[in-house]
């Protein structure tokens, strides 16, 4: 690397990074303890010290296009061991937050997602939307008789079209985001092969990532280093439980949708899509298991975050926003179920309304939220294998 790069240390960039969670990055005196401590960092051009130096130098492009920020699973070992309390783990998290904020348009959403002061706007949109639906169906009154949420929010004409549109909007955003992400990795350039090497096929990379990283959380488990602390265990179990909870709930939702819409053509499928499901339905039972698993995961992850040593690792707004929304989804989902079974109509309907608001927030804002890592990290991990930044396992 003999050619000199032109650097322009950028005050505003540093302030931006500090605002999205990298507030201690200036304390770094570049000793490299972090890179040595990290169990995942590759030997060649290891992170996160490189990123700490780039941030100081103001190499915005390098940082924004850096694939390594996605290789980090944020265990916080580097921050624990940092002799200056510079929290390199937080910087990488901040860089990811920056990516969530600005990868796809409308970037105004990214801005709204970056600070708690915009939260009312984010809540107001779905709140107004669902309130409008409620107004259209029952004129904002609580219906008589059996508690059936479809009375206020009928699936066919409200939930399904709105949620489908939201879903496709999210998918389209991700397609855009992913293409930009891959382009940015390409812009960062550099091949990591030394000597002769057979390029792995994209399919093998995808299989490896989905099976090992996503399916088993292999690196996520290893993250934390040789000494496994109880909080690392908590984080691993919590994240895995929550992940599989989402998988189960997604499958159940899919089955219901399939039964409902498919049932209009193939009639024997109809009961599978008829809500409310009876408690003895196998997929209702699966949903209950998913709910419990999710709440278990949330408890683990929340307790870990609350017990983190603030001087070592700080949780950003992005972390709390996501935890908050997911909590809202699960709490209102469970609440709506319980109030419905208990026959408390007012509470059941209102809770269900809040549930819809939360679910919409989760999906509609997903590409700009921390949950974006579900897609971006997966893509980055596949790409990293493809270009040889990390080997196939």
């Amino acid at each position: 690397m003999s050619k000199a790069v032109r650097i322009e240390p950028d005050l505003q960039f540093i302030k931006d990074l500090q605002a999205v969670g990298g507030d201690s990055l200036k304390k770094c005196y570049q000793c490299a303890t972090c890179s040595v401590a990290c169990p995942l960092s590759p030997a060649d051009a290891p992170y996160p010290r490189k990123e700490m130096v780039w941030a100081q130098w103001g190499l915005k492009d390098k940082l924004v296009n850096d694939i390594d920020i996605w290789l980090c699973h944020n265990c916080g070992t580097c921050s624990d061991l940092c002799p200056r309390g510079a929290k390199p783990g937080d910087l990488l998290a901040a860089l990811r937050n920056m990516a969530y904020r600005s990868l796809v348009s409308p970037t105004i959403l990214g801005t709204w997602m970056s600070s708690s002061k915009y939260l009312p706007i984010l809540v107001a949109i779905p709140a107004a939307l669902w309130l409008f639906v409620w107004y259209l169906t029952t004129g904002l009154t609580i219906p008589e008789g059996d508690i059936v949420f479809g009375k206020i929010f009928p699936g066919d004409y409200t939930i399904d079209p709105i949620m489908s549109l939201t879903f496709f909007f999210m998918v389209a955003s991700f397609v855009l985001g992913v293409s930009r992400l891959i382009k940015s990795f390409g812009a960062a350039g550099g091949t990591y092969y030394v000597g002769e090497h057979k390029k792995p096929s994209v399919l093998n990379c995808i299989k490896d990532v989905l099976f090992n990283e996503v399916g088993q959380h292999a690196n996520f488990k290893e993250c934390g280093g040789e000494v496994q602390k109880p909080e690392d265990e908590e984080r691993f179990k919590g994240h895995l439980a929550l992940f599989y909870s989402f998988v189960i709930l997604a499958v159940v939702t899919g089955l219901i949708a399939f039964g409902h819409w498919g049932g209009k053509v193939i009639h024997f499928l109809e009961p599978m899509g008829h809500t409310p499901l009876p408690l003895y339905a196998p997929h209702k039972f699966a949903a209950l298991v998913g709910m419990c698993l999710g709440i278990y995961g949330l408890v683990k992850l929340t307790s870990r975050r609350m017990n983190l040593d603030q001087s070592k690792t700080k949780s950003s707004y992005y972390d709390w926003y996501l935890l908050g929304v997911v909590w809202a989804v699960f709490a209102t989902g469970a609440g709506a179920l319980l109030f419905r079974l208990a026959g408390v109509a007012t509470l059941a309907y209102v809770t269900y309304y809040v549930h819809l608001v939360a679910v919409w927030m989760l999906f509609a804002y997903l590409p700009w939220s921390k949950l974006g890592h579900l897609v971006y990290r997966t893509v980055a991990l596949i790409y990293a294998r493809y270009i040889g930044r990390v080997p196939l396992s």
Binding site: M1, S2, K3, A4, V5, R6, I7, E8, P9, L11, I14, K15, Q18, K26, K27, Y29, Q30, A32, R49, K50, V53, Q56, W57, G58, R84
Partner: protein, 742 residues
């Protein structure tokens, strides 16, 4: 002179190693007539032992005390009976009992003990009660230099009860501090630069009635000796002063040292001193300022030396007639890196100026080594936390004009291996700090050895005689250096220095008026006495004195100045006529003690004998430590402590040789550039004198290599026995001293 000697054996110290009764019996037989008291005590080093000896002194039974027990370096508080009662400690525990090698004939141990007791007895008999020379002293401290250090020194000296004359070269007090916008933090929490407070300090000095301020004048001459100096100023006034604090500070290094970094050729490149002035005058406009802390680029070639020596011009006689310049300027390229610890912190401070003026301005600090000492770590952390201050490690390889009037830096050897370029509106380079004593004699001593401090080239002109042990001390007793003239430092250290030097100056005056040595033999009552009848005016003593204590008259007769003297005895060692002596340390005394060693005639059957003259400051404690840590050495060695190897007179070697001793080993401090000598020059001078000794030995028909000097540091106790072993092996190979048996 002690005539009635009380001999005391400490059973607790030497009982485990030696038969005390036999030794006492031996003393009775050999010295009975001189020793009214020969006693053994179970525990001598204690209040009871002390009371026992005191009662004998009070009864008038004894007038000298010989203590046979532990090393004189321990338990000394029990064996001090005032200046009128000489005490000699015979070290039979560490250097006879403990060091005796296992398996050797016990008889040899007894012989060793008897030799040591006899040597001690002789030394005691040849010790006089010291008569101090007291002089009338002036309780005035002269402070040279009215800057931050000098002002503080003046206040401290006045606070300590002395009158003060404060001499400042310029017309105004304040020095460099007056030109500064702010200082690095001097008070908790040490995170923010703040105004220096120099105006208040000047006002306090001016309000202090004990301090007389003289401005617009320099030192023209300093005559006399500590306690009674006459200071002459360039404005014609004269002051009687007792001691001097040298606080003349530093001058900025010539800018040519910074030329490789673009200074003088690239617009927008300034030094920290110029930058400070820009800030102070409100001229600072730059929004991007780079501070460069690299010094290596200035170093590879010494800009102060011509590449090759100029050829002597045709017809001009080379060599001899070219006269030595009176004073050689010691400014060099190295003054830049010496100031790195100061420049590092100053860069942090000045980066703060950039940020203070404009919240959107940026400062870049590029360093190879960020040297931030002590509490200033807090300041460093605070600067680091500022988002507008970039700190990065790298080597500034090039400084050149950039686009739009900017300056472009090329930085190599960065942490990521990635070179980078950086544009700045202004580049600030470090300032080398050249001590004033590198440029000028400053004090203008009227001393025989010249107007300047000696050998400062060893420290590139910094006026500091011994780097670790004795801060403030210079090679001229009575003159104490403080502040940046001594070592590059920030204002907080300078303030501490000022206090330290003020205390030293007061101590010096208070010692001179009681006739005792100031340093390092603080409280020593003796001083060199000259028997001028036999003096041949050879001037060796006046030339060799490491501290310039001795002046001389036109004929060359030495003029002792006891208050300048540090009592090392280098003059005594130098004198070929042996006319110099101390009341308790003389050529005759040590020579006689050497002659008291019993040397057997037959080396084959009774073994050789070697004499070890050991420096009492380093080598002697190293030997003690070796023994305490279970090391042992030859039972044929006899150790005699000396004040300094510089005090070793050639006649002692001749005495030993004529007595039949097979070899003389001189154990002294390290000398040369990294000297560790208490008296700076002693061991080096001793080494030079060995030539004379070799000549003497040749004349006597003895191989000169029977006399060897070894260098040992106080912590090298583990190496000392090996040195003795090596020397012993060499002697055994040579065989017996040809003088043996005569």
């Amino acid at each position: 002179m002690a005539e009635k000697i009380g001999v005391y054996f400490d059973e607790s110290a030497i009982g485990p190693y030696l038969n005390v009764e036999d030794l006492a019996e031996n003393v009775r037989n050999r010295w009975g007539g001189n020793c009214p008291v020969i006693e053994t005590s179970p525990i001598l080093a204690g209040e009871e032992g002390r009371a026992m000896i005191e009662s004998a002194i009070e009864a008038g039974t004894i007038d000298g005390v010989l203590v046979c027990g532990s090393s004189p370096r321990v338990d000394w508080q029990f064996f001090d009976f005032g200046p009128a009662i000489p005490v000699e400690r015979v070290n039979l525990r560490e250097q006879c009992g403990m060091c005796f090698p296992e398996g050797e004939d016990e008889e040899l141990k007894t012989l060793m003990a008897i030799d040591y007791i006899n040597m001690g007895m002789i030394k005691l008999q040849k010790t006089l009660v010291p008569e101090p020379e007291q002089i009338e002293t002036v309780r005035t401290v002269l402070v040279v230099g009215g800057g931050w250090t000098g002002l503080h020194a003046a206040l401290h000296a006045a606070g300590g009860g002395a009158d003060v004359v404060l001499l400042e070269k310029s017309d105004q007090l304040g020095g460099k501090a007056r030109t500064m916008y702010k200082t690095v933090p001097l008070a908790p929490p040490y995170t923010q630069a703040h105004p220096t407070g120099i105006e208040d300090l000047i006002a306090r000095v001016q309000a202090e009635p004990r301090i007389e301020v003289v401005t617009g004048a320099e030192m023209q001459a300093l005559e006399g000796a500590p306690g009674a100096y006459t200071a002459k100023f360039t404005n014609g006034t004269e002051k009687a002063v007792g001691a001097v604090i040298l606080a003349t500070g530093w001058v900025p290094q010539d800018g040519k040292a910074l030329a490789p970094l673009g200074y003088g050729s690239v617009p927008g490149v300034v030094t920290t001193a110029e930058f400070e002035a820009m800030m102070k005058d409100g001229q600072l406009k730059a929004k991007r300022v780079a501070f460069v802390l690299n010094t290596a680029k200035a170093l590879p070639r010494d800009l102060y030396q011509p590449a090759c020596a100029p050829e002597p011009a045709e017809g001009e006689p080379a060599g001899e007639e070219a006269e030595e310049p009176a004073f050689k300027d010691m400014e060099s390229a190295r003054h830049l890196p010496y100031a790195s610890a100061v420049n590092s912190v100053v860069a942090l401070k000045q980066a703060g100026y950039v940020r203070e003026l404009d919240a959107n301005a940026q400062a870049y600090i590029i360093y190879e080594d960020m040297m931030v000492q002590g509490i200033h770590e807090r300041f460093y952390k605070a600067a680091q936390d500022d988002p507008g201050v970039m700190l990065t490690k790298g080597y500034v390889a090039r400084v050149e004009p950039g686009e739009g009037g900017s300056v472009l830096l090329t930085v190599k050897n960065t942490l990521l291996g990635q070179d980078f370029e950086l544009a700045a509106d202004l580049v600030v380079l470090p300032t080398g700090m050249v001590p004033t004593t590198a440029k000028d004699p400053v004090m203008n001593f009227v001393y025989r050895q010249g107007p300047a401090f000696p050998d400062l080239d060893l420290f590139d002109g910094f006026c500091d005689s011994n780097y670790i042990c004795f801060p403030y001390e210079t090679r001229r007793t009575g003159v104490y250096a403080a502040g940046a003239v001594r070592q590059p430092m920030l204002m907080d250290n300078a303030e501490e220095d000022a206090a330290g030097a003020a205390l030293k100056a007061i101590q010096c005056i208070e010692s001179a008026n009681r006739g005792v040595a100031v340093h390092p033999r603080s409280g020593d009552l003796t001083y060199p006495k000259f028997n001028f009848v036999r003096c041949t005016q050879c001037k060796r003593c006046t030339e060799e004195c490491p501290f310039g204590a001795l002046d001389d008259d036109e004929k060359g007769t030495p003029k002792p100045n006891p208050t300048r003297c540090r009592r090392c005895g280098t003059c005594m060692g130098a004198c070929p006529e042996r006319v110099i002596s101390f009341d308790n340390y003389s050529v005759d005394q040590i020579g006689s003690a050497i002659k008291a060693i019993k040397v057997p005639d037959n080396m084959e059957t009774d073994g050789p004998r070697i004499l070890i003259l050991a420096c009492e400051n380093d080598a002697y404690p190293a030997l003690d430590m070796a023994a305490m840590r279970g090391k042992s050495w030859s039972p044929y060695a006899r150790i005699l402590p000396v004040r300094c190897l510089g005090s070793v007179n050639a006649i002692w070697v001749a005495d030993a040789m004529s007595k039949g001793v097979d070899g003389v080993m001189m154990l002294g401090c390290k000398y040369g550039d990294d000297y560790q000598c208490h008296f700076v020059k002693g061991s080096e001078i001793c080494n030079r004198r060995k030539e004379n000794i070799a000549e003497t030995l040749n004349r006597l028909g003895v191989e000169p290599d029977r006399v060897e000097q070894y260098q040992v540091a106080i912590d090298e106790y583990d190496k000392v026995p090996g040195m003795i072993e090596e020397f012993m092996a060499m002697i055994l190979e040579k065989g017996p001293n040809p003088f043996k048996g005569y």
